[in-house]
């Protein structure tokens, strides 16, 4: 796969552009990409400023790609799908609402835990044993094969650099990949994609109804819910002329809708092909009911079809457990974890050997208060838990952990002794092959210290 640095130095008006690719068309597109990159440097805003250089170039290349090239607002061009993606796929699962880390990765031996949470602390006897005195909530038992294979890692006390207890602020910080006062506005995964360079239409994927903040930027992710439904319905008998007309409608428009429309058409054509390779519904493939299982099932199809997915996001809601965290017998935590565990296990099983090149990381905006509240719940806290599983992972519990003694706690919360950027930097380096310097571009002003989560 082509890396951006191959032509980063190329001046867009240089006649040597034809050497950039195996065919004239390929070369023209790559030249176009270089021009857009140059353009982007002095363009603050993709909406309203002119795309003059690109237009100029599109006219000058004259190899029949002008119409297509005039659509590019980014360097993220859809090359032909590669036969394999050398460094695999990163899947970011955002557990919205603030997952209670102390119920998931339980410091079972810490006497302070039971003191602070007499009603909801998961008791040592029922836990799945991990290292360093930690145990995993038994409702994640479906992950046992991954744990045994050394493909499950967890980090306690992970947090944003700021101690905010607002959902919005903490999610925003995590998804932008910044800190208080940071000026970065694109999503952190968008910057990962920039570092990865051009890829396929499906290289950036959001599974769900709406865009993830972490993908926001110039990488034009495909956002979809399932492959089966990923096409225009009701055009039987008039499909070719309808799709041709839609292509014309959305071509040459200086507006985000233009990109979105053409991406939709391009991606749906490919999705039809990928979707045909797996006909069985998610349930018959071992996934539990629910959106998360369905999302992972869709993702597995694309990965197995070698669609070139590099990063994908999935949201799972329902973690804002101010009430009824419950016990291992029942309650919100048990229910939520069961479905997450079962879905991830089915996903790993379905991927088979493709799991070697696939890594899943979970995030949540914060952990919850150490002390339970009177409603068998816990209010917003700070340090939370990140789980990493799949290929390339070094199994076990990583990162600093100082226990739950009152002197350790930060405003009554688990302190954020492990910065989320350290975890994610290591994951993108290990999974996607970014260099340390590239990771610094993903998380500006942050020099990552690896915690050892990737092997």
């Amino acid at each position: 796969m082509s890396r951006p640095d191959q032509f980063a130095s190329l001046h867009p008006d240089c006649p040597d552009w034809q050497k950039l690719g195996p065919t004239a068309e390929d070369a023209a597109l790559r030249a176009q990409a270089a021009a857009v990159t140059a353009d982007a440097d002095d363009r603050e805003d993709q909406w309203s400023h002119g795309f003059t250089r690109r237009r100029l170039l599109a006219g000058g290349l004259g190899v029949g790609v002008a119409a297509m090239a005039s659509q590019l607002v980014t360097t993220r061009i859809s090359w032909a799908a590669p036969n394999a993606s050398p460094t695999g796929t990163l899947i970011v699962v955002f557990l919205r609402g603030g997952m209670d880390g102390l119920s998931v990765l339980v410091p079972a031996d810490d006497p302070n835990l039971l003191k602070a949470r007499p009603g909801i602390a998961v008791r040592a006897g029922s836990l799945i044993n991990l290292q360093r005195g930690f145990g995993l909530h038994p409702s994640l038992a479906a992950l046992q094969p991954l744990i045994s294979a050394g493909r499950f890692a967890a980090v306690p006390a992970v947090s944003t650099p700021d101690l905010t207890r607002s959902h919005f602020q903490a999610q925003d910080c995590l998804e932008r990949g910044g800190a208080a006062g940071s000026t970065v506005q694109s999503g952190w995964l968008d910057r990962v994609l920039q570092q990865l360079g051009p890829g396929t239409t499906f290289r950036a994927l959001g599974i769900g109804a709406r865009m993830s903040r972490s993908l926001l930027g110039s990488s034009n992710p495909i956002v979809l819910t399932s492959l089966k439904d990923f096409g225009v319905k009701g055009i039987d008998g008039v499909a070719p002329q309808t799709l041709a007309a839609l292509t014309t409608l959305y071509t040459g428009i200086d507006h985000p809708l233009g990109v979105q429309g053409l991406d939709a058409l391009r991606a749906s054509a490919k999705a039809q092909a990928y979707g045909k390779q797996e006909q069985k519904p998610a349930k018959e493939r071992g996934y539990p009911d629910g959106d998360f299982g369905n999302s992972l099932a869709t993702l597995a199809q694309l990965i197995k079809a070698k669609a070139g997915v590099r990063v994908a996001t999935i949201d799972v809601g329902g973690w804002d457990m101010h009430t009824d965290i419950g016990t291992v017998e029942g309650g919100d935590m048990t229910n939520s974890l069961k479905s997450v565990g079962a879905a991830l296990a089915a996903f790993a099983a379905e991927l088979g050997p493709d799991l070697d090149k696939t890594t899943v990381v979970t995030m949540s905006e914060f952990g919850r208060r150490v002390e339970q509240n009177a409603n068998s719940g816990a209010d917003h806290g700070h340090g939370g838990v990140t789980m990493i599983l799949g290929g390339g992972v070094k199994g076990g519990v990583h990162g600093r952990w100082e226990g739950l003694a009152p002197s350790v706690l930060d405003q009554g919360d688990v302190p954020g002794t492990n910065d989320y950027r350290d975890v994610l930097s290591e994951v993108v380096m290990g999974r996607l092959g970014l260099s340390a310097a590239q990771a610094t571009k993903v998380f500006p002003d942050w020099k990552a210290t690896p915690l050892g989560v990737m092997s």
Binding site: R96, S166, A209, F230, T248, L249, Q411
Partner: protein, 575 residues
């Protein structure tokens, strides 16, 4: 005064309602207070973690979720626009409007009369029906808007659509009598009936404002504990006060079982206060995170609200012995809060304080400006609306009047993008789908389609409401689903949301050239003639030059496809 002529009907109603209207802005302390309230925290030197822990605003980069989504895309100042300005009437403001290049206009210039009407209909309604277009032409901008701003207008079609879902807006007792415990039926009915008013109702501006506030004071409908109480909340809190005062709406929300259960306030007691509602009240419902409140304020906010809960039958109750007493202080407000018995009244005074806080004024102003004007709300307009809000004791109508007389509103032609709900509802309205005995069934079908699109009315799953900015909805998958919806509606796939035949004015006439027909379709469905690219696309579909005569036989069955393609146009998706 000039104002009198412009808004005669509205001013009369407002005066009758005791609302003093003051629109002319003065450089006084109020302005300064509003400006100060909106000043984001200085983001130079990073704050220490402990400080951030105590004061969330130190970590705030924007005002809310929606502002974060558009933060990277601030547009350059419009070339043609003059300084921000208020006009004495709606039409006068429209006359001075200018356009910038957008999906709807290739070259900027003065806003034409036709564009002004198209703009007004796109923003004030969920998309015009042919009757809206005719009425606006007949009445003119001033009288038409005055009618839309009337808080007492009748809406028989909207009422009929609402009633097509039997438990829409029902009270808890009725719901408990009518359905099984914990069934979500009444909540779904309420969402579907809301859709019904949007599609069939004539009080369109009211519906749009209801949608803004239902998202602002969000109680996710459906959500687990709302089964018997959320339907009534939609009516007795949001609809009741949408053209009234925000202060009253807020106080009603904080006494309604739906909100109290939704954000766990009914779980609070004096020993252990659940801080969910106390926090969101500050962050989402009133002053916003950049106002500078502290974690201590958050806890005090929760203390003040403790004791407010709901009975098992879904009635509001205040339990004095669950109220946490003792001195409370939030921002600039404090109370001795000495007795459990007085806790409810103390809470109401606290809500009064929050409602008239300048930072709350900005929060509410921002929401309206984002909805009606631009994803990146012009700061000066937000400040002007915030002042009007404070001068008029939190009344919502005076803000709307100011908004529709502002230069910013009339200079924003085509700058917003329809979200899925607006796309689907405006398609149904453009097709002029009729109301009838099976409307309830049709609403159900379309509600589930919207659910797949991630935008069923009232159904956003968290307390911050649906995003109201385009980048949050950017999705290739959604484009495909939207195009599919256009076909479903144009071809009448759903009983109760269809016509047996395309309306005559959408079908080709005898002797039409394709161009004549396409032009008529553009004007009828989008409000303007198709541009060359749209015409080329439609010609591609029909497989003929646009100068050719329409093949009437083939278009007999393909006209619906052509109509759908017009709805697919990016121009239709702009508003």
């Amino acid at each position: 005064m000039v104002r009198r002529a412009a808004i005669g009907a509205v001013a009369g109603t407002l005066a009758a309602g005791g609302l003093a209207l003051e629109v002319i802005s003065r450089p006084d302390t109020l302005r300064n207070r509003v400006l100060a309230a909106g000043a984001p925290s200085p983001s130079g030197a990073p704050s220490s973690r402990a400080k951030v822990a105590q004061q969330p605003s130190l970590a705030a980069d924007g005002e809310d979720r929606d502002s974060s989504f558009v933060a990277g895309q601030a547009k350059p100042p419009a070339k043609n626009a003059a300084k921000p300005q208020q006009f004495s009437g709606f039409a006068a403001a429209a006359k001075a409007g200018v356009t910038e290049p957008s999906l709807l206009v290739a070259k900027g210039g003065p806003l034409t009369d036709a564009q002004a009407r198209q703009h007004l209909l796109n923003r004030v309604t969920f998309g015009p029906r042919p009757s809206d277009v005719k009425n606006l032409e007949k009445l003119g901008i001033d009288r038409w808007l005055a009618a839309q701003l009337s808080p007492t207008a009748k809406d028989p079609a909207g009422d009929q659509a609402w009633r097509s879902r039997p438990l829409a807006g029902a009270d808890p007792a009725t719901i408990r009598r009518s359905i099984e415990n914990y069934s979500w039926e009444a909540m779904f009915d309420t969402g579907m009936a809301t859709l019904g008013r949007q599609v069939f109702g004539s009080r369109q501006l009211f519906e749009v404002v209801v949608d803004v506030f239902a998202n602002h004071l969000m109680v996710s409908t459906p959500s687990d504990r709302g089964w018997d109480v959320a339907p009534q909340y939609a009516v007795s809190v949001i609809r009741k006060h949408a053209f009234g005062r925000y202060n009253a709406m807020l106080k009603a929300a904080m006494r309604h079982p739906a909100m109290l259960r939704y954000l766990d306030n009914d779980q609070s007691n004096r020993e252990s206060v659940n801080e969910n509602l106390g926090r969101e009240l500050l962050e989402l419902h009133t002053v916003g995170v950049s106002s500078g409140y502290t974690e201590k304020d958050v806890r005090n906010s929760a203390y003040v609200l403790s004791g407010r809960g709901a009975t098992d039958e879904g009635k509001f109750e205040y339990l004095a012995d669950r109220h946490r007493t003792g001195r409370v202080k939030v921002l600039g407000w404090s109370a001795s809060n000495a007795s459990g018995k007085g806790g409810l009244a103390t809470g109401d005074r606290y809500l009064d304080y929050l409602a008239i806080h300048p930072a709350t004024a900005r929060t509410i102003a921002r929401k309206l400006v984002v909805r009606f004007v631009d994803d990146s709300p012009p700061a000066d307009l937000v400040n002007r609306l915030a002042q009007v809000y404070l001068r008029n004791n939190t009344a919502i109508l005076p803000m709307l009047i100011t908004l529709f007389r502002s230069s910013e509103f009339w200079n924003s032609f085509g700058s917003k993008t329809k979200r899925p709900l607006e796309d689907v509802v405006s398609s149904a309205r453009a097709l002029d789908l009729p109301i009838g005995p099976t409307t309830g069934k049709g609403l159900e079908a379309v509600y589930w389609q919207l659910n797949n699109l991630g935008h069923a009315p009232l159904a956003w799953p968290s307390p911050n409401g649906y995003p109201d900015v385009a980048p949050a909805w950017s999705s290739a998958g959604q484009m495909l689903d939207r195009w599919s919806m256009h076909r479903a509606l144009a071809h009448g796939w759903w009983e109760g949301m269809k016509r047996e035949k395309l309306p005559a004015d959408l079908r080709p006439r005898k002797g039409d050239t394709y161009r004549a027909w396409f032009d008529r379709l553009g004007v009828r469905l989008i409000g303007q003639r198709p541009n060359a690219r749209q015409r080329a696309a439609l010609s591609t579909f029909v497989g003929a030059k646009s100068t050719a005569r329409v093949d009437q036989g083939r278009m007999e069955w393909q006209a619906g496809h052509v109509v759908a393609l017009v709805l697919d146009s990016p121009q239709f998706l702009a508003r």
